[in-house]
């Protein structure tokens, strides 16, 4: 035992020497890296198979040019050129932009307003919150099925009740000027409740004394909202915006079920365009090129928004 104590003392003296300390730290560091690698391995495996490898495939496919009837394969930017010359792609891009603005702004604003309005823990509020959240739990295809009837001209839900207010019948899904906005309405109805949930959670984290203090100082409800609620909801807001953005790009079920991109391309969205090129036109080159451009754009956007998110979270911690 005494020998062990001696060894320990020698070791500890040793350890305080700079070189030894660094070596030990080095060993610990390498153990840490190994552990990190082990922990990350499962995720990385699936990411490699279903994200990185496919993206590589898609990039490759976008640069591959095939000719009908021959096995000849060329490489070049031909697919991109054809893509940019395709009017439908331009339509899909423009539509997605309008769709993004049209859905994100109202659904987030509505979600925030509803969260603030329904944050008190009364049974009445709980009931209302449930009603607002219901659409979230409905698969989009189910919501689209419902809205097929809602949008039916003349006899459908909207037209029937609007007629009582004297509003003439409208072809909600068949009029190229309105169709996209009808889908926007459906999406806002579907998603606002989801974002409201996040805001509710964020609101609950704001200490009540801040409001008390502000009230004592004479700040009215609007001032309290602007000075306390909004800033402290910053990270939540950033988070919700990222989710909303992802939804805008990836939710096209309603297009598939209700309009198939029509009438006349007015409801064509990027992901639907890609799906169409791949599965209806068998133009894998163009589909891949469209995917590459969409992904590049998305990455840029997400990079920016996540930077903001990171900063917001760091501020909190």
């Amino acid at each position: 035992m005494e020998g062990a104590g001696l060894v320990a003392e020698v070791e500890s003296r040793f350890a305080t020497l700079p070189v030894a300390r660094r070596r030990e730290a080095g060993l610990r560091r390498r153990a840490e890296v190994r552990r990190a690698a082990l922990l990350l391995a499962p995720s990385l495996l699936f990411l490699a198979a279903f994200t990185y490898w496919p993206i590589g495939q898609v990039i490759g496919q976008s640069l591959t040019i095939t000719t009908f009837g021959t096995d000849a394969v060329g490489f070049g930017l031909g697919n991109f050129r054809r893509l940019l010359a395709d009017a439908s792609f331009g339509h899909a891009l423009a539509n997605n932009l309008f769709y993004a603005l049209g859905t994100i702004l109202p659904s987030v604003a509505l979600a925030l307003a509803l969260a603030v309005g329904l944050q008190d823990a009364t049974r009445f509020n709980a009931a209302l919150r449930t009603v607002v959240f219901f659409p979230v739990l409905l698969p989009l295809v189910a919501a689209a099925a419902l809205f097929m009837f809602v949008f039916l001209p003349g006899i459908g839900l909207l037209d029937y009740h609007l007629a009582k207010l004297g509003v003439p019948s409208t072809n909600w899904l068949g009029n190229p000027d309105i169709a996209l906005w009808s889908l926007v309405g459906l999406t806002v109805w579907k998603n606002a409740g989801y974002y409201m949930l996040f805001f509710l959670a964020g609101l609950q984290a704001i200490p009540l004394d801040l409001y008390e203090a502000a009230r004592i100082e004479g700040a009215g409800p609007w001032a309290r909202f602007r000075r306390i609620t909004l800033p402290l909801l910053g990270p939540t807001m950033a988070f919700v915006l990222v989710i909303a953005l992802v939804n805008v790009i990836t939710q096209v079920d309603h297009v598939v079920v209700l309009t198939e991109g029509g009438p006349s391309d007015s409801t064509n969205l990027l992901l639907f365009y890609i799906y169409q090129q791949a599965h209806e036109n068998y133009d894998y080159g163009k589909a891949a090129a469209a995917t590459v451009l969409s992904v590049a754009g998305l990455l840029a956007l997400s990079f920016l928004s996540l930077r903001t998110l990171e900063r917001g979270i760091h501020y909190e911690a």
Binding site: S43, P54, A142, A145, F149, Y160, H279
Partner: protein, 279 residues
């Protein structure tokens, strides 16, 4: 948390506005509930009426149940959602911990590499993913639907946040007590991270419950269809065209269990978001 507030006119106006919004919000669902029980009326101009002035019938439900094996669709969807979640919890917890607590070179870049997946959802990469799934022999199987989602960037992000909010004292105390690294994770961190996991679980289940395009491409046999595919076939096929009552009944069948579950567990849903570090 009950706050006493005097009913100022502004507050009353607010309540009225919110109630109005909620009323309009609920009309499609209200119609669904009513139309599902309304007797079929071809050529009826009052199909959109919200007043239940008819003798309710279960005929629509009978027809809907006859047209699609809802029980099987439900089972498949539950399997997909829970199966995906189970694997996801494993992968995201491990990865989230790695990002939160461990240091290694290139950490920030690897993290961004993960975040790539947030935007590159499987439907965008449909063609190559379908090829991969087929090569793995998973075409037309539930596992084929689940596989691309086993790694979740969103989950890793969330878990990293959750772990970061857990004070290091817990870990240090456990180390002092002589806990091995594995015991530390399993006995200390995971229980503390539960709210984050619940939050992620909800997001994951909701999103996979709703999924349509990807399962549509992967599945071809009726035995493996999920709710969304079954419902879409059911409503899109002109099979039930003009039979809005049956469509309403079918949608009702799909929605009802979820709505009930949420109505009962609303508080837990909201609370889990609160403690997950998403502030």
């Amino acid at each position: 948390m009950v706050t006493m507030r005097r009913a100022s006119p502004a507050a009353l106006l607010g309540i009225a506005a919110v109630s109005a919004v909620v009323l309009v919000w609920s009309t499609p669902l209200l119609w669904m509930a009513i139309a599902a029980f309304r007797p079929q009326n071809f050529g009826g101009l009052d199909m959109a009426a919200l007043w239940p002035d008819f003798t309710p019938t279960l005929a629509n439900f009978a027809e809907a149940l006859d047209s699609a094996d809802f029980a099987l669709l439900y089972l498949n969807t539950v399997v997909v959602c829970l199966g995906t979640l189970a694997v996801q919890l494993a992968t995201v917890t491990l990865s989230g911990y790695a990002f939160a607590r461990l240091r290694f070179p290139g950490k920030e870049w690897v993290f961004y590499g993960f975040l790539l997946q947030l935007m590159l959802v499987p439907p965008i990469l449909i063609v190559p993913n379908l090829i991969t799934i087929t090569r793995l022999g998973l075409y037309d199987s539930l596992l084929g639907i689940m596989a691309p989602y086993f790694a979740s960037a969103f989950g890793v992000f969330l878990m990293r946040q959750t772990f970061r909010t857990i004070p290091k004292d817990f870990e240090e105390a456990a180390i002092v007590d002589g806990a091995s690294w594995w015991q530390l994770v399993w006995r200390v961190l995971v229980p503390l991270a539960r709210p984050g996991m619940v939050a992620f679980g909800i997001v994951s289940v909701v999103s996979h419950w709703n999924e349509f395009l990807w399962p549509l491409m992967v599945i071809s046999s009726p035995d493996n269809q999920t709710l969304t595919i079954g419902l879409a076939s059911f409503t899109r096929g002109a099979e039930s065209a003009s039979q809005w009552g049956v469509i309403a009944a079918g949608t009702f069948l799909v929605a009802a269990p979820l709505l009930t579950a949420f109505a009962l567990f609303q508080r837990q849903f909201v609370n889990s978001f609160l403690f997950s570090g998403v502030k």
